[in-house]
Symmetry: C2
Subunit: 237 residues, 2 copies
DNA sequence: GTCTATAACCGGATAGAC
DNA sequence: GTCTATCCGGTTATAGAC
């Protein structure tokens, strides 16, 4: 099912369909932000976008699919922010902290909606689920980012740890987001605190990970990550 | 709002209302198991229970509230199973493994529904959310269980760790459950593997936690748990 | 073939009579 | 406590316009 037969490379941004699509997303985000997800009806979204209800469904399979749109938006914004951080910081600790803070800062406008996003994402059958094979590309991109966090830093790591650490850091990022979603504190102070403290801990752990005493534990952790990763990825048939 | 003015202690199990309530829950669990949660309508549940639709809503605020009923069921079953385990096992590792395996075994009949349960539980506003103040009693009970796992064991722990370890083990349990929900492997082999390996790791960690080298890290971890716990519990107003 | 609109359908939830 | 009648909103069927 070819979705987008590449348009003639002259008119880059907007066919009629794409403009309509964008109008719907914009209306949805605006209304979600105003009355929340459940408080916004598809009929309102359609009206605000200047299209009929049926037309909205022509572009988006379901109300939940509209969520994915905003998800991609913040994701892109986050990547942009990270470039600055990675160019600026040299220490592993600072790089990691910067990337995580950028995450919650770019996502802040959508905090209210994120609860719903998370709710759908939690469903094992949802394509938004971060562990599903459908979100493999996003997952890969996110771990890739973590690899850059590590590689650009001045820390020296055991080779085995170096290889698997990105996945572990991605898991940590997921945990931080989970916490953030539940965080109603002023200025997300709790999440900031969590980031500060866990980053500090991770740095400590990484710095002692090379000691001989830690070898058995390190091996356990790393081989487990390896085994479980196999299972998450779809068998290549 | 007094929900259950204790019935006269002569007739223990069933007033008319309680029988109706039970009939609805039974019908719901049966149908959920058969056609899944989304595949079952409230109208069907009402019909199968021999009551009207409106009446079903008299007893349960919403379809989701029916989920809580089954949640409590498995919880009770788990506690029962654990008694045997704790009476039998002496080593921390064995006790912990036993409790976790009991969890996924008692929950097995409900694996299919659990995805939905989890989905609702993930909503920050849901009372089913394990971090919400509404589920504080369940959370307390679960950490209490972990305390018994530790205290009955033969391991010797630093005092500070001993105090906070139950909470950490509860977090670990939550992670295992999260994994289990996504686990479609034969006999939940993947989750069993995860339990085996993580329990092994926890045992290793605990055994080296007392070494002087580990002191700073241990302090970090424990004080963080402490701080975050404050935030989860509602301020006593 | 791409896009848009109107009119149902279906099921969760509520109102109010008995 | 129990019912019937309705509402409301997500979703779908379908017909046609460009």
């Amino acid at each position: 099912m070819p979705k987008k037969p590449k348009p003639p490379p002259t008119t880059p941004p907007a066919t009629k369909g794409e403009r309509t699509r964008a109008a719907i997303v914009d209306a949805a985000l605006r209304l979600f932000h105003g009355h929340g997800y459940e408080g916004t009806t598809m009929r309102e979204i359609a009206r605000a976008a200047g299209v009929s209800l049926g037309n909205a469904y022509y572009y988006f399979e379901s109300k939940e699919h509209l969520i994915q749109a905003f998800y991609e938006r913040t994701h892109q914004e986050h990547l942009v922010e990270c470039e600055a951080v990675l160019a600026r910081e040299k220490k592993l600790e600072d790089r990691l902290r910067g990337v995580l803070l950028a995450k919650i800062d770019t996502a802040e406008p959508y905090h209210r909606i994120s609860g719903i996003l998370f709710k759908t994402a939690a469903d094992p059958k949802s394509p938004l689920n971060p562990f599903s094979s459908a979100s493999e590309p996003v997952r890969r991109e996110a771990t890739e980012l973590m690899r850059r966090v590590i590689e650009g830093s001045s820390s020296k790591l055991p080779a085995d740890l170096n290889e698997k650490l990105p996945e572990l850091l991605w898991l940590h990022e997921m945990s931080v987001i989970l916490f953030w979603i539940h965080d109603e504190s002023e200025g997300r102070a709790r999440t900031r605190h969590l980031i500060e403290r866990t980053v500090e801990m991770i740095a400590k752990l990484v710095s002692i990970a090379g000691f001989p005493l830690m070898k058995p534990l390190r091996t356990s952790v790393l081989s487990l990550v390896d085994e479980l990763k196999q299972d998450v990825l779809p068998p290549k048939t």
